[in-house]
Symmetry: C2
Subunit: 297 residues, 2 copies
Amino acid sequence: MVGRPVWLKAESLQRSGSFKARGAFNAVVAGLEAGDNRGVLAVSSGNHGQAVALAARELGLPATVVMPENSSPVKVTAVRAYGARVINEGVTGRNREQVAADVAARDGLRLIHPHDDPLVMAGQSTVAMELADQLPEVGERPRAILAPLGGGGLIAGICLGAASRLPGVEVLGVEPETADDGARSFYSGELVTLDEVPQTAADGVRTLHLGRRCWEVIRAQARGVLTVSEAELAEAAYFLFTRLKLVVEPTGALAVAALLRERPEIPAGVEAVCILSGGNCLPQQLAELTTLRGHPA
Amino acid sequence: MVGRPVWLKAESLQRSGSFKARGAFNAVVAGLEAGDNRGVLAVSSGNHGQAVALAARELGLPATVVMPENSSPVKVTAVRAYGARVINEGVTGRNREQVAADVAARDGLRLIHPHDDPLVMAGQSTVAMELADQLPEVGERPRAILAPLGGGGLIAGICLGAASRLPGVEVLGVEPETADDGARSFYSGELVTLDEVPQTAADGVRTLHLGRRCWEVIRAQARGVLTVSEAELAEAAYFLFTRLKLVVEPTGALAVAALLRERPEIPAGVEAVCILSGGNCLPQQLAELTTLRGHPA
């Protein structure tokens, strides 16, 4: 269908419903091993919050998640279901970092950043390290790995993991066209910040800019950053749903969307791995996204 | 969550998107082995048509599928994508059997029934035989298997497979409350036929009655038939989507729906296997079904 062999790594089936569990567990474990028994704090309206809540519960620490007051009730419920305390009263997209800093100081909590933290990036690097173990089992040797690019923790982690375990394999980030700060940064060599929160169905990558530490890894080690249209994203999400029977959240379909047209960065025939980054979404969300294909159900 | 260990067998990930591939392949192969090289014909607006189309293509026979004219365009496209000829002009739910008989006679085709055929039932029995191989690998020994009950081919097949490979394991069919001909047949001992096509989101089990051959197996070997409400079906579909990240069509969620309340037929604590019978559906369909939970997205 896309002129090349493609492997999919379904992080949608990962615990907590996304790859974020990797970084969260690594950060929480590393703190404990260093003798830090403080509770942990995350600022997140999405997958990072659920991942930190799960990691803390499994490792016996209390977790607090700061979420904007207008977060989806389903996401608030999910974080609470993992046993975390949610702070959302009066919290907005603008003041949430400050609220988190205040709560962390007041309650003596350890803040775990969603991407710009070496421990979190190291956790995400296990995606590539697992691939290095799994692909030989099926006799495959991919030449490219594609994954969504938001704050950059996943791509930076995969770059680091691939450098040690999959030498020669190229790593590419994928962004929505409307959230192309990563591509503009990569091809200009300067970290670009968007003026406003981008409009895209891929709600996991509505970041304004890459994390500074992630950027340093990505500029040096990634092969490129590709952008996809919302229509391509819808097409990929529809394919994953109807043909592979996998629930993949909009952001998780970005890498597959990038393969729907020819790309000079990954010539035809080159074997690729797409990271399906997560599956935390609702039926209604995928119904709305896939109608963008122009194929009504 | 439901007070017992539960295993799920994801036939949604089966080739053709449902368990129907098992019976279709067995029937097509058995014909070829008996020296019958005629093309094959199926009457189906759903999974059986796709399964026969796939089996015929893989085994080098032409396939024809008779579908009502008002079938979903997506399903017509899916059958054609497997290389089958679709006959739907002027075909209705009432005349389709006659159209199929005429086409079979005219073109010299072999009709493969969706359930009331020993070869098809034998194919579906591999669900239980595979379970007998797979469960010991994970150290489990279930005491009950639950699966959707429509025409009865799947449940009859599982009864036959379990009798030979999982002795002592009980098999239960699950129907929507509105399509309870199987339950009424089972508990009365007489094959019951519904007066009209039942209203249920589970479009794979809108049959009027069990197949005669299926019924003979089910009455003798099944443990019982359970019914579920549309709200329970919606709850199960929502759970499978949001927690397990699996695309399961409404019919495929019936067995899980049956575990949402206490059932004298399977006492609390008894380990059960639920068969997720298929995954051929659209995002819009699951969005509509799951809003029946009363939890808007």
